[in-house]
């Protein structure tokens, strides 16, 4: 079946099994290796992407549901103010260990920042509850997001 969607602002077409997972299609047909596949059953969140601005786990998202939709992966947000703040925050707090869970976590944080949700600890634990880190560096991840949010707000105020 032919399925069309916008992947990181580019119109794409794929002819495939409609029930293949979006994560599989993005990685193997479009070389989007920033979409990680950990569990393939929606548990670990490494495959998180944004569809029409909503975070979903792409490993349990049938590609047919993406028909005509706008998909953003980590590589589609690199130029945004949100990503730049997250990058600096994560780097300053040492939030990245092996890095496998990082793309999914960055997508969730990007979504939080976009929706202007202040990342209090409770809020962070709730929003990142679907993202597992096997290195178990959760505290440094939380610290990184908090720092990132400060940078993001400061940048917004100074208009930088």
């Amino acid at each position: 079946m032919k399925i069309n969607f916008f992947l990181n602002h580019i119109f794409c077409t794929v002819d495939t099994d409609p029930l293949r997972s979006l994560a599989d299609v993005l990685r193997n047909d479009f070389n989007q290796t920033d979409v990680k596949q950990g569990c393939k059953e929606g548990e670990c969140g490494a495959c998180a992407v944004l569809i029409e601005g909503v975070t979903v786990h792409s490993c349990i998202y049938p590609v047919v549901m993406a028909q005509d939709k706008k998909i953003l992966t980590l590589s589609g947000i690199l130029d945004t103010a949100e990503y730049q703040a997250i990058k600096k925050g994560f780097s300053d707090a040492g939030s990245v260990q092996c890095g496998f869970c990082t793309p999914g976590i960055v997508i969730v944080c990007y979504d939080m920042f976009k929706r202007n949700i202040k990342p209090s600890r409770d809020m962070l634990m709730e929003h990142l509850s679907g993202n597992l880190c096997r290195c178990t560096g959760y505290n440094s991840i939380f610290k990184g997001v908090e720092l990132a949010f400060e940078y993001y707000k400061k940048n917004m105020v100074s208009g930088g």
Partner: protein, 276 residues
């Protein structure tokens, strides 16, 4: 495999009556089971684009939740009340809640389904439609066992409805799982009470994942309604004895029968003695 994505309910009902098709709502369960459930002969009916199935509304004192309302829709709806937040916020995680629908959770008919417990507590009705018309079925009659419902091959579950006045009850909800996010219930307990003065005029108790279907007993509830808090407190032992015979849990990968039974009865006792 052919895929259909109708935009109106009438089109969907027509397709459902003419073809042997599997229904896809949020897809979060179906994607995990597709190798067992689907084959090339199966057609797939996607409900995503039917707007009326996403609606949450209150009309004439009745709350309606469309079958395709996602858990996030439920969590964020201003028309629903606290216990919905308590239940839904303990389900999966935000990214899955953005996709998973209430209709899917109920049609999946898992004994551990969290929204089944809540719908049962609210005595919700399930609206089922087909080309032949529309019928309303009580949630207790809709689910007949693990993974089993009375939904026929040409029918679609379209909405849930229950009395809006139930928002005035006081609720208690406790889910016992391995961890807070992404864990299926080992067991779950929900209670609702309506007070008039110091008297509990109506009491409702639902226990999930301890029997093939959610445990609710109108008989016991009737017996202990219109009692004072003190009377209920004094009867907690006899109430738990009465419920004990309904609890028929199993051992599985999540928990074992003994634990499920013991903790359910402890929660029941806690609810009667400390919460009410």
């Amino acid at each position: 495999m052919r895929i259909f994505s109708p935009v109106t309910l009438d089109q969907a009902l027509l397709l459902r009556s003419e073809l042997k098709c599997t229904v896809l709502s949020g897809g979060t369960d179906l994607m995990l089971k597709k190798q067992f459930l689907l084959s090339d002969e199966h057609d797939l009916l996607m409900l995503q684009k039917i707007e009326e199935l996403h609606e949450i509304s209150v009309k004439d004192g009745i709350t309606h939740i469309g079958a395709c309302a996602t858990q996030t829709d439920i969590l964020e709806s201003s028309l629903l009340w606290g216990v919905f937040m308590d239940v839904v916020s303990c389900m999966s995680c935000p990214s899955i809640r953005n996709l998973a629908t209430i209709g899917g959770n109920i049609c999946n008919a898992s004994p551990a389904g969290d929204l089944i417990l809540l719908m049962s507590l609210l005595d919700a009705n399930v609206v089922v439609q087909s080309l032949h018309g529309r019928k309303t079925i009580k949630i207790h009659d809709f689910i007949t066992g693990p993974g089993k419902t009375v939904l026929k091959e040409d029918e679609l579950l379209t909405e849930f409805c229950f009395e809006d006045s139930l928002r005035s009850y006081s609720y208690f909800y406790k889910k016992v799982g391995t961890r807070k996010a992404n864990a299926l219930s080992k067991l779950s307990f929900a209670g609702a009470a309506k007070y008039s003065g110091n008297t509990v005029s109506d009491i409702r108790i639902a226990i999930g994942a301890v029997a093939p279907v959610v445990v609710r007993s109108a008989e016991i509830e009737k017996l202990f309604s219109n009692r004072s808090r003190q009377e209920l407190n004094d009867s907690s032992y006899s109430i738990s004895k009465l419920y004990e015979k309904y609890l028929k849990p199993i051992d599985d990968q999540r928990s074992n029968a003994m634990y499920r039974k013991k903790v359910s009865l402890n929660l029941l006792k806690y609810y009667i003695e400390r919460v009410i």
